[in-house]
Amino acid sequence: MLTVDELKELKDIVGQEWVKDDLPTRDAYSIYYNSSSLNKEDKLWTARPAAVIMPKTPKEISELTKFCNRKDFMLKPFSTGWITSSAPGSRKTILLDLKRMDKIIDIDIKNQIAVVEPYVRAIDLQSELWKHGLNVHAVSCGGNHSILASTAAAWGYGITGASMGYQARNMLGVEWVMPSGEILTLGSPGDGAEWFSTDGPGPGVRGLIRGFQGTFGGLGTFTKVGVKLYRWDSDPEYEVHGGSPKYVLNRELPNLGVFILMFPSKKQITDAGYKLGEAECNYSDFRMPAFFIALGFTDNNLELKQLWSTGVFPKLARYVLTVCVHGHSKKEYQWKVKALKQIVKESGGLILPMQQIPLAAFDIVKPFFKMFKNPLKLITRIPFIQEITDMMKTSEEMRLKLLTTAFFILVRHANNSQGGFRASSGMFTSVGAFDTWDMGFEQADYIAGVKRPAIEKGLILDDGGDLGSGGTFDFGHLGYIEGIGEYSTNDPESRKATKAIVEESLHGTIERSLGLPIAAFGGPMNQLFGPHCYNYHEMIMKIKAKLDPNSSYDSWTYSGASEKAFPDEKEGYTFF
């Protein structure tokens, strides 16, 4: 508990109204999406924070940090708090909710660089950028996430990564309130220059604060970040009709097209993915698992259930790659579309017509799909099948409807990933190591196998098993797929099964050399993986000890439970 004097001290730093120590507020900050995964007892509630503070400036954060250096409390900063790693690890943790730091400080249009504060969400920045012919890579949790967090503090996978890369690699300078309270700017802006590099002078010290994962608030607070932007050569705005939850574009956008590519096999979808990258056709791409496609075709869960139970989707849409092609000019767009079509043809795939298919149609083809193991393989062998498919047309509205669904996913991050687990109350993820596009599919296959028994027992949602979601990065240079699943947050058995799946997958990725999964961060995870990866975890412990000797930052998501945490708060967990 903070004493009256301590509270006063905190209020003197940020102002009376920005320090919240009332119970309702603190409770509101102790429940997170999937927070039951954070403790062995399967409790929904995390530790109740000692207080929640909403600072406005780096200077205030520096003072708060100095406070925690002197006192038996820790800070845990977050920008939007969307992801559970923002949760307090201890009852001695003071949460820093940075939502008052919400300025786009600068957009250098010519050099394609933005400088932003923590609570600038991807959607806010993108809306502003499109007016200037620019775009930003958004991670695929949706436009609601903080661009600063995805750049400086936590992961960075997203659908636009095909052309815009992994977000950690888009960091062009960062301002950091260190665990000592010192405010340090790394890279070019730290030397007085503009924001264009986080590396140098000399060694890239930013390696301390941003790896494949980030430090997740365990090593100070980032207060500004320079972000590398990319081109946007289509309209600055678009108009829609319809209403929530289904808006429909009034018309197509220039130099922009979305394509749903279907392939009969893993070999064919991976071949095509590499070739599309080499030809730089994919402004963004997403390996859309069959279940998510069915979800995209329907407006509600009843329809989804009916559609999924036709059995058509797992066979038709096992290997689907959705791609956005974006040209600088009409000519370039046409070249890219031509290249894409050639690639799909030579890989033995099929481009689905951009038509919202009436659901009744799936009932009609159901018997045919039942007869064959891989009907798509047969279909793609029919002469001129693409030409025949291209002729399938229903109405302009049906075309725009599907196009809009794809557009909102692939380009405009106007929906958050909750849309993806409409079918259940919760979603978990696993594997998801970053390296090659091919390895992505190995991970998807592996985790589908792990999930199967739980699906068969009805413990998690029957999504066909393979809910592997991901895509390519840097025009095919890199790739990843994570293994998603849907479960019931309300059912303890479902939660238990989910935990077991994720736990098994952690060990499985080690045995199978499938890379370092998304969940490999924080004390227990690093202890598990470190010994298989040149003891990288020991360096994390050393960095933490050196830079934060007084545990001013709660480090459960970084080096492990903090020195200051209570004994009951130092236990293991399985993050998903």
């Binding site: 220059a193 590099s197 060694p203 010290v205 301390l208 590499y274 095919g476 499938l514 890379g515």
Partner: protein, 488 residues
């Protein structure tokens, strides 16, 4: 002094050179750089375990180690060391142990050179972007881990590209692998699971190799790196834009780079272009220089495996229009320089010596990062300072290289000089000090500090410098690797 015992011990399995003649070749051959000590010996370790042993022995014998991967002459000062030290020469480790076309990746050992690598990659339809005309013996590893810019900025997303993964040894002698190579599993096991050691970050929450990149050998010794390679163009049409007004060329480059059009690109002023084109034939230097306008910009256009001719055609049309819109012309030849010849010179090893050195025997190079639209400002700074040292504008070579997809740019000033002319050397030393100071004041960012910049730049951001010290304490606690570097 390194004890005979240690030398004998290391000499059992490794080559150890102690002859003064040999040692002298590892001195920095640049009269402008404060010379370090001559190394006590040169050790050529047989393999990785032996290299680890060398590091342990250095700890025991209390001497420093300076890793070297390129062949001489060494001129930048990267290997200069003022402490008692041995050189660890890895130039003979020159294998390319693995290549994979599907994932566009290859592995190189420290001694692999650009010529060697690109000859090899050609057989796989691939290439690695080169720095501007690297000298024959320049190590690909040493160059890329120093963030040396290359001439294909569109292919560089981030400053660490094209480095993918690395294996390195800490100053403690411990071996580490970074990026996807870090595990779990051996490289072979990872490849069985279809990994290809391309992901450059981690393992985990730290970006280990970032810390070695740009560290000039002070944080670890790399034993191999994997590299992201690119497709070799199947057809090419190198073109040029040129003129006396840099501002127009800069506007053109912005327009082209924003939508990722075109391929290799760089801007040279006439002096630099003439130096580059005549490094094999200095006799034609004046003729070529006098034939050129003030600035010349390479604009390569290419097609790859997919619809190459059509790609080249639409790109040519777009680029032609963009040049025209900026009052420029896309042409095959400017003065005496043909575009294909310039591209070839830029991508090929330039010979045993740096091309900058050919005209007068040596060259002062001052380089830093900024934004492309600051170029003219910095040119003015360099010229203004030069006036105070009676260096005329036309004796300053200029190289402007957009980097990371033109979100930043490398700007380099070069002043050729005669290393035997003491007066000239003295004058240039003073010029270097003066212009570097002025450039720093004007917010130039010396991300790869050498020479005078290395003495000045670490004062700019004391917190960052302190952090480098902290890291040094973690990566090389006994201060064995390149001791004294960055005053650590």
């Amino acid at each position: 002094m390194i004890s005979t015992n240690i030398l004998n011990d290391l000499g059992q399995n490794n080559t150890v050179e102690t002859s003064l003649d040999k040692l002298k070749t590892y001195e920095v051959s640049n009269p402008l750089v404060r010379s370090g000590r001559t190394p006590q010996c040169v050790i050529k370790p047989k393999d990785v375990p032996e290299l680890q042993k060398v590091i342990r022995k250095a700890k025991e014998g209390k001497f420093g180690l300076v890793p070297v991967s390129s062949g001489g002459p060494h001129t930048k000062g990267g290997i200069s060391c003022s402490a008692n030290h041995a050189v660890v020469d890895l130039a003979d480790w020159n294998k390319i142990p693995w290549v994979n076309r599907r994932n566009r990746v290859c592995f190189v050992e420290p001694g692999v050179t650009y010529g060697q690598l690109n000859n090899f990659l050609q057989g796989y339809g691939m290439t690695l972007p080169t720095p501007l005309a690297p000298r024959d013996t320049k190590s690909v590893l040493a160059s890329t881990i120093d963030r040396e810019p290359h001439i294909w900025p569109r292919m560089q997303w981030d400053f660490q590209d094209p480095v993918a993964c690395t294996e390195f040894i800490y100053g403690t002698g411990e071996l580490f692998r970074s990026g996807a190579a870090g595990g779990p599993g051996t490289l072979e096991e990872q490849r069985k699971s279809k990994g290809a050691q391309k992901m450059p970050m981690g393992p985990g929450q730290t970006d280990f190799q970032r810390i070695l990149i740009g560290a000039q050998g002070s944080m670890g010794i790399m034993t191999w790196i994997s590299l992201r390679t690119e497709l070799l163009p199947s057809i090419e049409r190198p073109m040029l834009v040129a003129g006396d007004r840099l501002s127009k060329i800069i506007e053109y480059v912005y327009e082209v780079q924003r939508p990722w059009l075109g391929e290799h690109t760089f801007i040279l002023n006439r002096l630099a272009a003439a130096m580059l084109m005549t490094c094999g034939n200095p006799g034609s230097f004046d003729r070529i220089r006098n034939s050129l306008p003030e600035y010349i910009c390479m604009q390569n256009i290419a097609g790859f495996e997919r619809l190459p001719t059509e790609r080249l055609e639409y790109q040519y049309e777009e680029l032609k229009n963009m040049a025209g819109g900026n009052g420029l012309k896309l042409v095959d030849k400017v003065g005496e320089i043909e575009a294909p010849a310039l591209l070839k010179a830029a991508q090929s090893p330039c010979g045993p010596r740096d091309w900058r050195h050919v005209v007068k025997g040596h060259c002062l190079s001052i380089f830093f990062l900024s934004l492309l639209n600051n170029s003219e400002k910095y040119i003015a700074v360099a010229r203004e300072s030069a006036r105070a040292f009676n260096i005329p504008d036309e004796q300053i070579g200029i190289y402007i290289q957009p980097v990371i997809q033109n979100h930043a740019c490398h700007i380099e000033f070069m002043v050729p000089f005669n290393p035997d002319d003491n007066h000239e050397v003295e004058n240039l030393k003073n010029y270097e000090a003066d212009v570097t100071e002025r450039l720093i004041k004007a917010r130039a960012f010396f991300s790869r500090p050498y020479g005078k910049a290395a003495e000045m730049v670490f004062k700019n951001n004391p917190g960052n410098t302190e952090l480098i010290r902290v890291i040094k304490g973690l990566f090389d606690p006994e201060n064995i690797l390149s001791p004294g570097k960055f005053n650590l």
